[in-house]
Amino acid sequence: MSAFSPTDCFRLEPGVRLRPVPELGHCLAYTPARPALHRLNPSAWLLAELADGGSFEAIATEYGHAVAELGGQADLPDVAAGLASLIDLGIVGRVDTHGKEGV
């Protein structure tokens, strides 16, 4: 079961910078609020790119389409786990949909 509701929305935390390194098949993510540099694998990279303020449902749908294009299949628990990891690292945050942005 997902820890997120389908309507929970997600976006990059303020100041987070993504630096794709396509030659090496990964993306670097810098989190200035907790200074650290993280190396994202392609799945985490895709989720971080998709976290543009949209809902969990929308992110999961787009993620599923992208994975399907590569001949794979994405499960909702995988998407939830991936987002949870990005949240733990301070790369992605939940958007407060009740009018103001969450922290």
Binding site: R19, E23, L24, L28, Y30, P32, P35, L37
Partner: protein, 334 residues
């Protein structure tokens, strides 16, 4: 074949050649005052903005002593908004207030150089009494501020018996890792090479015998960690010269930041492109299946053999009878 990056994600800068210490082995031949030719702080700030917009996301800052650069904290604060910043320092200027200032300006990691586990050995190198205690205090202050902190040591004849002691000391101080680095024939180190350089077998034995205390990371740059990492390396020294790697500063110049950008040099400098392509005459077969040392470090390969494709003599597999405790003829003082 090495990966071909269209632009470098990580860059190292030597922001100043000024330093209050007088290390006998100083690679930059640093003095107490900056050279007239150094980039000013505003030139550095402009250059760093350009680096960020060209895709650099990790900035390693060293010197000299970076904290001596006027305006350094402001530069750090700006850079750390868009780049992971690492500061290499000997630490003698870091008291509790400076550690807090570094944290508040977003530093990501600090690397503190020591040259021994005792004041006697460390200060034989630095030639400044009290500098050992000051460096250790710096590590304490940085750790107290929650800044990830590493200790670095360059392995020499004098400190080889003390490397384990440095590991133990670093663990007690709360450092996360110790990096044991190879000695390079640069700057003042060249002039005292036969006094401070160890034969390769002694270096390898010293590294093999190390037992890091639990919880302390050990980084070391001997085989198979002597990667030919020129493919991803980019560096600028205090006068703005683009040198690819700080260890190449005496043999390479890909342009100057006053005349070009690092990205332009990355794309156009012929020698840089050659070094990044990674052609080597010989590689260690044992590690070539993984990322591999791939011929080893280009700086020492070139220093001893005068060819960019030569094998790294600090690699025991590729050493071929070279005594690295003796300076190569091409580097002997005239």
């Amino acid at each position: 074949m090495n990966p071909r990056l269209t632009s470098p994600p990580k860059v190292a800068i030597s922001i100043t050649g000024a330093c209050p210490l007088s290390c006998r082995h100083c690679y930059g031949d640093c003095g107490h005052a900056p050279q007239d030719s150094e980039l000013g702080i505003e030139e550095w700030r402009t250059a760093i903005r350009q680096l960020a917009s060209d895709g650099v996301i990790s900035l390693h800052i060293e010197g000299g002593e970076p904290l001596l650069k006027p305006g350094f904290l402001g530069l750090l604060g700006e850079a750390s908004q868009s780049m992971f910043t690492m500061l290499r320092t000997h630490g003698t200027l870091i008291d509790a207030a400076m550690a807090r200032a570094l944290r508040d300006n977003g530093v990501g990691r600090v690397l503190v150089d020591v040259m021994g586990s005792t004041a006697e050995t460390h200060e034989w190198f630095t030639q400044v009494p009290g500098s050992f205690a000051a460096s250790l205090d710096a590590v304490r202050h940085l750790v107290d501020c929650g800044i990830p902190t590493d200790v670095l040591v360059i392995l020499t004849r004098q400190n080889a018996p003390e490397i384990q002691g440095i590991l133990d000391l670093a663990a007690r101080l709360g450092a996360e890792r110790v990096g044991v680095l190879r000695l390079y024939p640069l700057g003042r180190a060249k002039r005292i090479w036969s006094t401070i350089a160890l034969p390769l077998a002694d270096q390898m034995r010293t590294i093999a015998e190390l037992r890091p205390p639990e919880g302390l990371g050990l980084m070391q740059s001997w085989h198979p960690n002597n990667h030919n990492c020129c493919w991803q390396s980019a560096a600028v020294i205090a006068n703005g010269d683009i040198v690819g790697c700080p260890y190449l500063r005496e043999d390479v110049n890909h342009g100057n930041l006053r005349e070009t950008t690092l990205q332009q040099a990355w794309e156009t400098a012929r020698l840089w492109r050659t070094l990044r392509a990674g052609a080597v005459e010989q590689s260690c077969p044992d590690c070539s299946a993984s990322e591999g040392s791939h011929g080893g470090c280009r700086a020492t390969a070139y220093a001893w053999h005068g060819r960019w494709t030569a094998p790294d003599p600090f690699d025991p597999i590729l050493n071929d009878g070279v005594d690295v405790s003796l300076l190569p003829d091409r580097l002997l003082p005239a």
